[in-house]
Structures are given as C-alpha cells and as structure tokens.
C-alpha cells in the first residue's frame, strides 16, 4: 500500500503521539504505543481524553522527573514490541538495571507512580539484591539512612528475633550499660550533693581538729553515712554493694583496687563486664571521696595509691572508649569476623574464642 509514501510525506499523521508534561513544566511528545505501555498514561488517555495535543498534555506525577521519564520510556519502548523472546527481554532487563543506587530508587518511585508494575518489580528485585547480606552500617551508608535510633532505643532489648546468641549477649550488656548510665547520673548527683553538703557535725569537726580519739568514730560515722546514702541510691545494683563492701573492708589493703581491676579484667569477656566496670568507677569515686575528706589511710603509701588510682582510671577509660566500637562490632553481626566471642566460619558453625 502507499502507507510508506504517506509516512514519508506526513509522518505525524501516521504515527500518533502523546503529549506528556513533567512536574518541572517541560513538555514532550512520545510515540503512542510506547507511552500507552504505562497504565497511568493509558488511563489518562482513555478515560479523560488527554494527551492529544500540547495544550492538553498529561501531567505526570511529581515523582517522575525528565531523567526518569526518559529511562522509563526506554524500558517501554523495548518491551512494548510484541515479538521479543523472553531471553531477549531478560537480557535487556539485566543491562537496564545497572545504575547507581540513587537512580534505582528514583526509578522505582517514578515507575510506581506510573503504575508500571513490571518495572517496579524489576527495580525492587535489584534493591533487594543490594540490601541482602549487608550489615546495617553498610546499608545505612548506601541509602543515606540516618542512624537516628536514640541510645535509649538502641539499648532497648533488641527483640531477639533471630535468637542470635550475640544479640542475647548484647541485650545483657545493654541492660548493664543502661543501669550503669543511670547509676552514673545518680552518682553525679550524689557527688554534687556531697560536695555541697558537708554534714559533719560541728562536734565532729572540733574533735578532729583537736585530735581526739573520737576522730575514728567521726570518720566511721561519716563513712557509714556515705555508705547508707550510697546504699539507698544503688539498691538495684547488688554487685556495686558488693564492691563497696569489698572496698570498705579492704580499705587498708593494697589489694582492694587491684582486686576489682582483676575482676574487671577476668570477666570483661563475660557477661558481667559492665557491672564490674561500674565497680571500678565506683572505686574511683569512692577513693576520690576518701581523699577529699582527708581520710587518707596512713598504711597505704600515697604515691602507690595514686599510681593504683591512675591505673584504674586508665583501665576504665579504655573500657569506655572501646565500648562504642564494640557495640558497632557486635551490631554488625559478625560480618567483619572479628573474634568478639563467637565467630562464624564458612559453614556457619559456632566457634567460641577463649576469653581475652
């Protein structure tokens, strides 16, 4: 027929075009069969009769910007041809999908607003492939997700839906850490209070100044007062009471602080880590208070005591600074394969590492 001739002379008459307008105002015309591949455009044309001319261009949803539109039209242009084999289509899809994550997300959004389900499926599959098997940090970095779960929320017992033993451990550590945070808050208050209020009675002070034998009594009273207050504050933490008892019992002993440090070292690899961390910090406060009140024990060489205190502080600082990293490590579910405690080898069987 003379269709070919007609096509040469008046191409616009033979091929219909649909006019599309993107959110930024730019208008373009697209071959009808390509545009009609999108259900949303199809709907607009058929139901509302739009798109036949520039003035009546179909307004595309906001999520479709010109770059995405051109990608989508490429997709439609290929797939609307009926004669293609499944193999060809699959191969086209594989190549089409290769783009950076940002564009992939935009494309998913745009395709969804045009109701182009096959493309949404394709892009969703690609995004799922990106997410699968990655650690939370990696995923956050790829998609620019804010790490905005508050400390509290993160410390909330993770619903251990995978029953990962590391998560169980983590929950316990978090619980201790939470307690510890609370204690620290309270202790800070206590310390502040104590600095403000020197509640030693005038008699006590006088007797101390006068070098009475009663000073030991006075000391004991104030010590016990402090003990009581601390006991009140830390009713929940039995381990800290223990520490206090230890500390006060062995106040004169060189071992006291070292003992706690040892305990701390030994059980860092265990669950009670932060409680002993607490002990250690408690000791620091305790010893500081003792020093502040001038109740220096004569039996301990002050220099040695200072050295011990410094060691303890160092150790506590190390523990504290390690903590965020350790949290990250544990949270990353063993992808870095650092021997925290458990590690998965290739077969997924658990290997327990000896405690550090």
């Amino acid at each position: 027929m003379s269709e070919v001739d007609m096509a040469v002379t008046k191409p616009e008459m033979m091929k219909s075009y649909i006019w599309l307008q993107t959110a930024d105002g730019s208008i373009q015309q697209v071959e009808q069969e390509v545009a009609m591949f999108c259900p949303m455009i199809c709907h607009e044309v058929i139901q509302k009769g739009l798109g036949s001319s520039k003035n009546y261009a179909i307004s595309l949803p906001q999520r479709v910007n010109p770059a995405m539109l051109s990608l989508i039209l490429d997709y439609c242009r290929f797939h609307q041809v009926p004669g293609r084999s499944n193999k060809e289509r699959k191969s086209f899809d594989e190549k089409f999908i290769r783009m950076d994550t940002k564009r992939l997300c935009e494309l998913t959004s745009a395709a969804d607003s045009l109701q182009l389900k096959p493309l949404v499926d394709l892009t969703s599959r690609a995004l799922a492939r990106i997410i699968e098997g990655k650690s939370p940090e990696e995923i956050r970095e790829i998609f620019h997700l804010p790490d905005d779960l508050t400390e509290e929320e993160k410390l909330e017992p993770l619903k251990n839906t995978t029953d990962d033993p590391r998560i169980r451990l983590l929950n316990r550590l978090y619980a201790k850490k939470r307690k510890e945070l609370k204690e620290r808050q309270k202790l800070k208050n206590v310390e502040v209070e104590e600095e403000r209020v020197d509640d030693r009675s005038v008699d006590d002070l006088l007797s101390f100044i006068n070098g009475d034998g009663g000073d030991s009594k006075g000391i004991k009273t104030s010590k016990s007062k402090k003990k009581n207050r601390r006991r009140k504050d830390q009713q929940k933490s039995t381990s800290t009471n223990e520490a206090i008892k230890n500390h006060n019992k062995e106040l004169n002993g060189l071992n006291s602080v070292c003992c706690s440090v040892e305990i701390g070292q030994k059980s860092w690899s265990g669950v009670g880590a932060s409680s002993n961390l607490h002990d250690v910090e408690d000791d620091i406060f305790a010893s500081k208070n003792e020093l502040d009140d001038g109740e220096i024990d004569d039996e301990i060489d002050p220099a040695l005591k200072e050295k011990i205190d410094r060691e303890v502080e160092d150790f506590a600082r190390r523990l504290n600074s390690d903590w965020p990293e350790r949290m990250q490590e544990i949270l990353s579910f063993g992808h870095e394969r650092k021997p925290v405690h458990f590690s998965l080898n290739g077969n997924g069987s658990l290997r327990r590492y000896a405690s550090m």
Binding site: S124, H144, D163, L344, L350
Partner: protein, 421 residues
C-alpha cells in the same frame, strides 16, 4: 560517616514498594532492617508473606539446638508481626512433630491466611490440626509429609485454587470429597500415594499432576482441564488389579477432557491407558491438544502402540510429539503384527500441524521404525524429527540409519537429526 545533606534515598518510598523489596529478602535480613533507622523499625512487621527455612537460624551440628532456635525465631516473628499474613511457608527437615506448629497454624487461621506451604521432615509425619480446616480464605495448600484428616463437619475450602499433597497420609474418600468440595480448584497435584483409586470431580480444574501408584483414576468431571502430567508406578498388585478391571482406562482418563492442550505421561502411562481399550472410535477429538509427551512406551506391546495412535490421530492440531521408547531389543526382533502398518493403519490421517517430533531411547526395533515411517509420511508441515538411539544399542545404529534414509517424507523441509550421545 553520614553526609547530613544527602537525602534518604529509600525510606520514603511507598510502603507497598518497601514490602515488595522486603519480601524478596530472606526473612532474616528483612527482620534485621528494624535496626537501620527509626523509620525502618517496624517496616518489616507488616509483611504479608513469611517464608521460613533453615537459613533463618545459625546452623550447627546440634539438631536440638537448631530446632530450638528455629522454633523461637518463628514464634517471635509471628508474635511481633502486625496485620494479616497471606502466605506462610515452612520448609525444614528439623521440626518433626513439634507442638509449636499447631500453635502457629492456629495463629495463622485467625489472620486470614491464604497460602500455606508446609514441607516437613522425614520423621514422624506431622498431623495437621483441625484449626487448618477453619482457614476459610485458603487459596493454596501445599503439604509434604503430613497426616491429613478432615473432620466430618468439614465443608471444603471454598476459595482453594491450588492443592498439592505430597506424601500425605489421607484416606481416598477424604481426598475425593476434598477435591469435590473445593469448587474453585484449578490446580491439583497428588504425589506418592499408595494404591490410590480416585474419581476426580473438579469442574474448574485446569492443571493436574499425578505421581505414584494409582489403582484407578477416573476423570469424571474435568471439562476445563488444560494440562496433565501423569506418572504411574505399577506394582504387581496393581497390574493384577488391572487384569480384572472391566472399564476402559483410556476413556476413563481421557474421555472427558476436550480442552486438553498438554499431555505428559511418564513410566507406565501408556500401559495404563492400554488396559481395557475397546478400540472403538473415541467420541472426543482433542482439538486443542498441542503437545504430547509419552515416556517409556513399549513398542513391543501392540496395545500401547494403538493407544499412541489413537491419541495422535484424534488430535488434529498436534504440534509437538515426544516419545521415548522402552523396548527390549532382543524380544522385539521378531515382532508380530508387522503387517498392521500396511493393513490396518489409518492411512487417511494427516498431521497438518505437527512440526516437531522427538524420539528418544530408540532401540531400532521394527515397530519403532514403522512408527517413524508412518509419521514422516503423514506430516506435511514437519520441520524437525530428532532421533536418539538408546545407549545400549551400539550395533543396530547403522541399520537404523539405513532404514531412515529410505523413508518417504511428506514435508520437504523436514530435517532428520540423529543424535549420538
């Protein structure tokens, strides 16, 4: 690490897309997204498809431990889940007769479950609890290695479209009444049943797949059947039973499937069909039948050859034919009834649409060659005829080729491919 100015790429996509993405992740990864950010905390909890298998938990050599952690994982996931659950799939060899499965099924029955797939281990078979029969919205049910016992008050799954029972202990009456009471049933698969005698009445059935030892199958009311795949394992008892049966199996099976498009028969299917054959003219012409695949056709048995001929001569639109032989070379050398091909063979039939023929496991016995000759002479549209000899036949191959060369071909474009292994 985070660029404060870089916008969040993905969290604001519509929930339906997020669900599409999460559905494509293994369930463990999907649940882990809850710690990505505050927006992601509960995005996974409304997933409507939950697929559990052994990859959900850390594997170890301690079976008890794995079983334990799998049970905990599934229970907790279900507990934290919000909203309807449309698909629940559990594939594992670890949970034998676990009471937790009953509880999960009870939970699912209250949550509009639509698709349920239970593939359980080899040990003691799981006895399906009665709450399963209360799942009114069930559209798909796949059970592997379970005991299935519908209560007498059970009226059927009114929405069920697909039923797949594999190694399921159930009484034949129960299956029959189950099939009949699911009016929307479109796809039925029954495998590994022992000596099952079954009458199938399913007015909407489109796809049928049978595998196992079947004593007697009658497709009584399956007018819409489109595709069928049957593998019949014959034991001696069944063979004996057949000797005594009076019905014509061909009619009972293929008598009322006018819409059939694909027929695949494995192992003893043609033998089964050949029993009780009345050799009469079939009232049914398979107008839509396009693809026929028959495996293990014994070309020594005249009856089986007749079944094949009857089938293909009543299928005017047949496009593809695939036949694999199973002849005993020695026995078939002196083949009786060779004159059948000259005398009684319908010579007026033409396979106008037949384009592809594949003959595999050919031993070169006379009946096989006659059959090939018959096809070549009556297929004007044939494009490819491929013949693969049986691996045990080494000497006869040359003879086969010599014979093949002589055969007249009705189609000028027909290619004969002789495929050596």
């Amino acid at each position: 690490m985070d660029d404060v100015l870089a916008p969040d790429l993905i969290s604001d996509l519509p929930q339906s897309i997020i669900e599409t993405i999460l559905t494509r992740l293994p369930i463990r990864d999907a649940v882990r997204t809850s710690i990505l950010s505050s927006k992601w905390r509960y995005k996974w909890a409304t997933l409507t498809q939950l697929v559990f298998d052994e990859k959900c938990v850390i594997s170890s050599n301690d079976r008890c431990k794995v079983e334990d952690s799998l049970v905990k994982f599934i229970t907790r996931t279900l507990f934290l889940h919000q909203g309807p659950i449309h698909k629940f799939q559990l594939t594992t060899t670890h949970l034998q007769c676990c009471p937790d499965i009953d509880q999960w099924l009870l939970f699912l029955s209250r949550n509009d479950i639509k698709e349920l797939v239970l593939e359980l281990g080899e040990g003691e078979w799981f006895r399906v609890p009665s709450c399963l029969f209360n799942c009114k919205k069930l559209t798909r049910l796949d059970l592997f290695r379970c005991e299935f016992d519908p209560p007498p008050s059970f009226k059927g799954f009114l929405c069920l479209k697909s039923l797949n029972l594999h190694q399921v202990l159930v009484s034949p009456e129960a299956i029959e009444s189950l099939i009949s009471s699911c009016p929307l049933l479109e796809s039925l698969a029954l495998s590994y049943f022992d000596s099952l005698a079954l009458t199938i009445r399913a007015p909407n059935l489109k796809y049928l797949c049978l595998e196992g030892e079947f004593k007697d199958i009658c497709l009584e009311n399956t007018p819409l059947l489109v595709a069928m795949s049957v593998a019949m394992y014959m034991t001696d008892d069944i063979a004996e039973h057949f000797e005594q049966s009076s019905g014509c199996n061909f009619n009972r099976f293929l008598g009322s499937v006018p819409r059939l498009e694909r027929l695949i028969g494995h192992i003893y299917f043609t033998k089964y069909l050949s029993i009780g054959d009345d050799l009469g003219r079939l009232p049914v012409t398979y107008v839509h039948l396009k693809v026929v695949e028959l495996n293990q056709v014994s070309f020594e048995d005249m009856k089986e050859i007749l079944v094949v001929l009857r089938l293909i001569t009543n299928s005017p639109n047949l496009r593809e034919l695939q036949i694999s032989g199973s002849s005993n070379t020695l026995a078939a050398i002196d083949a009786p009834d060779l004159d059948f091909w000259d005398d009684q063979c319908p010579s007026d039939c033409t396979f106008k649409q037949l384009k592809l023929v594949k003959m595999t496991d050919m031993s070169g016995v006379p009946h096989e060659m006659e059959f090939i000759k018959f096809l070549l002479a009556n297929s004007p549209a044939l494009e490819t005829m491929s013949i693969s000899p049986c691996v045990y036949v080494m000497d006869g191959r040359l003879n086969m080729l010599i014979e093949l060369l002589r055969f007249r071909r009705a189609s000028a474009q027909a290619e004969i491919l002789f495929i050596q292994d």
